[in-house]
Structures are given as C-alpha cells and as structure tokens.
Subunit: 306 residues, 2 copies
C-alpha cells in the first residue's frame, strides 16, 4: 500500500529534532549509498524549474522533485515532493509532499555541520542573508550550540530589521544588525544563506576558530565565500564531487574537501584545534530527502505528532 | 488537491483507444515539448534498476519512474509511477501508478507508427518475440490495420505456441508459428519486441512495402534489425537524437531518421509509395507517460469506466 503525506501533514509532523536526526542518517549514508545525476527540467514556461535528485542507501530508494515557480504569489515559490520506492519490489511505496519540511532539512544539514565542526563554546552566530531559509538556519544552528546573540547582515536594512525581529520571536535570542565586517569578525559561527554570485565578505575579516556553513551555492557561477579564505581554512562538504562541480568549492581550486559523513563515521578528522577555521559547503543531495521522508513516515505511524 | 490513481485503478481505466490517443498527443507534443536527460538508478542491490524520464509540453510537466526488479516473482518485474506537476504552481498534481497501463502505452506508440506508415492494405502481421509486451503489440497493431493473420517467430517453440494461442484468444485472429525467414518475408507489418543484441533476421528477407516497428532496443548494445536494411528503407522514430544514441538507430550509421511527430503534424512525409520499406524505432520518451497519465485522469473524472 502506498502512503501519502500531504503538505499540511508533513508541515505538522516535521520539527528540528526530526530533521537533524534525518540529516545525520543521510550524511552517514553517503558512505555506502548512491546518488544519481541531477536533472533540471522546466515547463513550457522556461523560467519555471523542477529538479530531480535521486539516490539509494540501505532500505531507501527514490527521488525528490523540487520545484521553483518564481511567479507564485499566494503559494510558496518552492515546493518539494519525495517519492519512495519499496526496495523489495520496486513499486511505489510512499509520496511525501515536503515543502515546509524541506526548509528544515536544509537547515538541519548546516546545523549538523555546526554540531560536528564548530567550537563547543560558540556563542555568537552571524547570518548573512535575510530570506525564509536564513531564519530556518538560525533556529536550527542555535539549537546545537550555546548561542547567546545573533548578528544579522543584509543588504536592505528594513528586511534585516524584520528578520532580526523574527529571529528573536522564534529563538528568544537577541538579534542585532551588523555590517559585513563587524558581523564576520565577531562570528563564532557564520552562516551564509544568499543567492550571491560573488564573495560576501573579505577573507581577512574571519578570525581564528570561526566555523562557516555556506548553503547558498548550488549552481554554476554561484559564490558566497572569498577564495582567499581557502588557504587558511579546513574544508568540509556533503558530497565532495558535487561541491566542486556546482557548490561553493567550484571556486576552491585544487583543494580537496572532506566529506562530513566521513567525519561523522570517525573515518576522517573534523576540527583539530580551537584556532582552526572550518568551512562547510552544503550543496544538497537526495539521501537527505529520502531519510527525511522515512523519518516523517515513522513519525506518522508512531502517532508522535498527536 | 493531489489525485492518486492506484495500479488497480489505472489497470481498470486503460484501454487501447485511450493509449492510442495519448500516444498521438505525445508524438505531436515532441514538436514543441521538452524532454530532459534520462537517469538510471538502482538500490543497494545493484541489479535492480529504476529509470527517471522527465519532460514537459503544453500544460503537462512531470516524471515517470520506471522500475525493473528482476527478482520479483509474485509481482510483475516492471512497475511504473507517473508524477504530474501543476503547471501553474509547480506543486504535486497527480500520482498515477501505471505498470499495466505502461504496456498499453508502449504498444500504442508502435500501433501509431503502423497507423501512420504501414500500407492501408496490410493483412499479415509478423511478431518476433513472445513476451508479455509482444502480446500487447499484436493487439494494438491489429486494431489499426485489417490484419487477417499473425505469424509468430520465437526462439522456443513451446513459448511461441502458447503465445499464438494467447493472440487468438485476445484478438480472434488466426496465429501460427513461422521461422524467421518465412515470417519476415510474408509480413506486411513486422514488429520486433525482443531483448536481442544482434540482428534477428536477414535484410534480404524483407519484401517491398513492408513496415517494421522495432520496440526492443532501448540501451547501448541492443539491436534487433540488420544494418543492411538501412540502405533500402525509410527511417522514422520517436526522438531522433535518442534513437541514434540508445535506440535501434545507434546501428544506422549516418542515416537521419524522421520524427514521427513531424509526419503526424504534416511537416514531414511518411510513406511515399506502396513499395517503400518503412522502419520505425521506438525508444520511449517521457511525454508518452505524461499524456497517458493525463488521459487516465480525464477518464477517471469523467467516470467513463463505471
């Protein structure tokens, strides 16, 4: 029997704990699972976009269809549908609409990187970007470290102020605006969540011991981090090959990033000292979607949301 | 709202008329629609296979997930799920399980080619191959031409006899076994539906005026037709680029096949004379699946199956 979880149901089922555990499972699964080529399609309106990300690991196999419809006004511009196949038969097993859950999933990957790589005593979180996803990033990251204040760096002061208010409303943390130099240099954890195509700050502003999670770069030409940073930082990512092809590390020259899954599995070293600068690039992969869908299905069947 | 059509429902809704009209719509849509790269995935059992075929045309956009699980015994080894997106919003619109309907869809493409390219007075249909799909091919083709007898060419006599009996049971037509030379030389319409990797017959056996529909070749190395045929035949296919990459015409050298959609639209010429030999290669494309799903949804909502 096929299980169907609607957008309203998945939005009610998901939370940061579920997303974080699904992310951990997904990153560990990168060690043995498979990820297949990403397809980018469109409708007869060429500025629409749907992306197929497929993979398999253990008992999971399926595809995430992510949509970006820029003209949507009443509905979110992003939507997401995860289709799981029954590994025993190949037949349809579950369909999970997961637009809201997808934002948790993406933030959870960065939170997992922070939990794995940032200094335990990280207290200042700086966020560059003031969009919908950025708010999820702040909430998820602030749960894995003893964050005491949030610095908000945005291009538009009105949007940044509104964002800072939303941060405080969601997390209880004080949030204040900062310019890029002040925000970057004060950060213990720096998260970038923009659609930038060039570096957002000067590498010299980054102080020793900072952890940086970059989640905005997911296509050729996108860039958030300064190239000069790579000479003095240790690089980590979800899928090294993909990160160097379409992620932030397309700009990192010959540097070889370490897979976060290897660090989680104890097969590679994470942070080596309190002074080290660590950088994590998230380009996104299908196993995150498959483990998210499986976690939502488990929670549905356990009735934990009721 | 998302509409879900289960395997049992789609199997009850589909018939040859619906599949033929959906095929016609799909082939016409190749003129303006888009087809995106095919992805072939597998589970942690590497001999399983799932294939993602995506595309868009007009109001349709989505993906077909086709599965091939060779170890299935109680269930069919092939299954199929079609996911449609709402073109206005990008959100999930419908999920259609369509394993049984998929066999109709594939046969309908070959029947459409026969209807477009074969001589109107085609009376002898020869089928090479005695599998599940071959039976669908015979039934669909015999509906578009005044077929009076079916010749069955198979490697194993017992399977061929059983197949011939099934042909008569399904179509009412007399069906008899033939060797390849007798079957090919007597054919007005010749359909090949095998998993062969080399030519199934000698090009000299093909008589003037024959139409050939080849549906078995859908991957590198697969082959059903003799290369010597191409010097004396006119070539047609679903998607010329794909047919030359992974279809039968990967063996056709520099010959340029004509898209059947162009013939249907009146933009290219089909059969030019009663003596011409026409060859159609079907490699399969996503728009067939999208139009099939849309036709099933229309029939569901019209209640025509009740």
């Amino acid at each position: 029997m096929t299980t169907f979880i609607s957008e309203a149901e998945s939005a009610a089922l998901v939370d940061d704990d579920l997303a974080l555990e699904a992310a951990r499972e997904a990153f560990l699964a990168t060690r043995t699972g498979s990820t297949f080529p990403v397809v980018i399609g469109h409708t007869s309106l060429p500025h629409t976009r749907f992306t197929l990300k497929s993979g398999s690991a253990g008992e999971l196999a399926g595809v995430k269809i992510g949509s970006f419809w820029p003209d949507n006004t009443d509905l979110p511009r992003h939507s997401s549908t995860i289709v799981l196949l029954d590994p025993a038969t190949g037949r349809l097993s579950a369909v999970v609409e997961a637009a809201a859950a997808n934002a948790h999933r993406t933030a959870a990957a960065d939170a997992l990187a922070v939990d794995t790589l940032a200094r335990k005593d990280s207290r200042t979180l700086t966020i560059i970007g003031t969009g919908h996803q950025a708010l999820h990033e702040v909430r998820a990251v602030s749960r894995v470290r003893p964050i005491e204040r949030v610095l908000v760096v945005g291009r538009r002061a009105d949007a940044a102020l509104e964002f800072a208010a939303a941060v405080t409303a969601q997390t209880g943390l004080p949030a204040e605006l900062a310019d890029a130099e002040a925000g970057v240099s004060a950060a213990d954890v720096l998260v970038t969540a923009t659609t930038a195509q060039q570096a957002l700050f000067d590498a010299n502003w980054v102080t020793p011991g900072t952890h940086i999670s970059a989640m905005g770069a997911d296509g050729p030409g996108k860039q958030e981090l300064p190239v000069a940073l790579y000479g003095r930082a240790s690089l980590f990512c979800d899928l090294p090959e993909q990160s160097r092809a379409i992620g932030e590390f397309q700009h990192a020259g010959s540097a070889t990033p370490v897979a976060l899954g290897a660090v989680l599995a104890g097969a590679a070293t994470g942070r080596r000292s309190p002074e080290e600068i660590t950088v994590f690039d998230s380009s996104g992969f299908a196993l995150q979607d498959l483990t998210l869908a499986a976690a939502l299905l488990r929670r549905l069947s356990s009735g934990a949301s009721e």
